[in-house]
Symmetry: C2
Subunit: 224 residues, 2 copies
């Protein structure tokens, strides 16, 4: 019995570690996708598109581990919530990986034309959403409500920057119609980053839900 | 024992019914959001933004039911997979509800300006993604692989229409800079619909995974 319980704890620890490792892998994907965009590095963008497979494999491993924990260990109420939220968080992370791939795809398209402008806001925005994501995952494995709440606070700021980028890019398009396609693609990158912030917010809300047992997931309305 | 097993089956049926009812509620949200866009009906758009709360409540009910089934019933391998996929599908559905709200938000912005053009492709695209979503959910509750595979086939077509809409809207922007903002907002609507198709595809892939026990989720690459 003692042995089984130790094994179970080791499996829960493995779940946390795998989630964190999927999280840092995805942070890297965002970082690389943004670097591919800013430095006009098509090879790196291709690497991001290819690298997503490793994330997908991690996702399946985590899913299987959760199923195993649910099937064999008959977890208690608290662990049950942790494991099922683990399943949901993995889905959020996978979607973030897809968004990093989308950024890389836009980067490849943009690299085929002359650069539109120095990307001042987008890399800053990307750094912010990466931090949100990291904090949200840390909050999950540490069950730290204060950290999760900090993530919720950061989301409004991202929405603001996204709005500013939108207006700026509309200006570029109005100035010269040769800018339109490129500006549209950059606008999509801005939206992808905003979506990543939304996923980080989701994770943070689930952490608060898990720890406090109250559901704050739907107090925050959907972003613009 | 007989009694318990009947109760368990009733709960599984309840889960299926709740998932379908969340699905049709979300289909309605998409339909209303598109109607609000096409008929320039800001009141209806507001209704969509408000109506999303009912979807959120359904989501929480389904989550709780899944937790209860996992905690009290110690489901078999097959049911375990069904219930945990139920948890994931609910997350997909909730995201689709958010996207319907996003469409309604863009509709409200668009209604404050003169109409840009008759929306020929977007309503057709919306009807197609609604059908994909309905089929994917039906495939889930009926565990019907052929139906799920039909959903996967439809996704490529959506990507194509989305690309066509993009080029068309870029043309509008190039023709007159007064069109730019409105065209950008319509471009976002087109992307939202494409994202909904991606979620339907996700659900369909999970159904095939569940039924066949093999994982096809990552054979299909991320869309453009």
């Amino acid at each position: 019995m003692e042995h089984t319980s130790k094994q179970y704890e080791a499996e829960l620890r493995e779940l946390k570690e795998k989630l964190l490792s999927m999280g840092s892998r995805i942070e890297e994907l965002i970082k690389d996708a943004m670097q591919a965009l800013v430095e006009r590095d098509t090879d790196l963008a291709q690497k991001v598109i290819h690298g997503d497979h490793r994330v997908n494999r991690l996702e399946m491993e985590i899913d299987e581990l959760c199923l195993k924990l649910l099937a064999l260990r008959q977890p208690t109420a608290v662990d049950l919530r942790f494991i099922t939220l683990g399943l949901k968080i993995v889905a959020d992370l996978e979607r973030v990986g897809d968004l990093a791939v989308n950024i890389a795809e836009r980067a490849i398209e943009l690299n085929q034309e002359a650069p539109l402008k120095p990307y001042i806001d987008l890399p800053k925005m990307a750094a912010d959403v990466q931090e949100m994501l990291r904090k949200a995952l840390d909050a999950f494995v540490k069950e730290d409500v204060a950290m999760a709440e900090a993530v919720l606070g950061a989301d409004d700021q991202i929405d603001e920057v996204n709005h500013k980028v939108f207006e700026e890019l509309v200006d570029y398009m109005a100035r010269d119609k040769a800018n339109i396609k490129r500006a549209c693609r950059l606008m999509f990158v801005s939206r992808y980053l905003e979506r990543i912030a939304d996923h980080a917010t989701n994770v943070a809300e689930m952490v608060i839900f898990m720890v406090q047992g109250r559901d704050v997931r739907h107090l925050h309305s959907v972003g613009p």
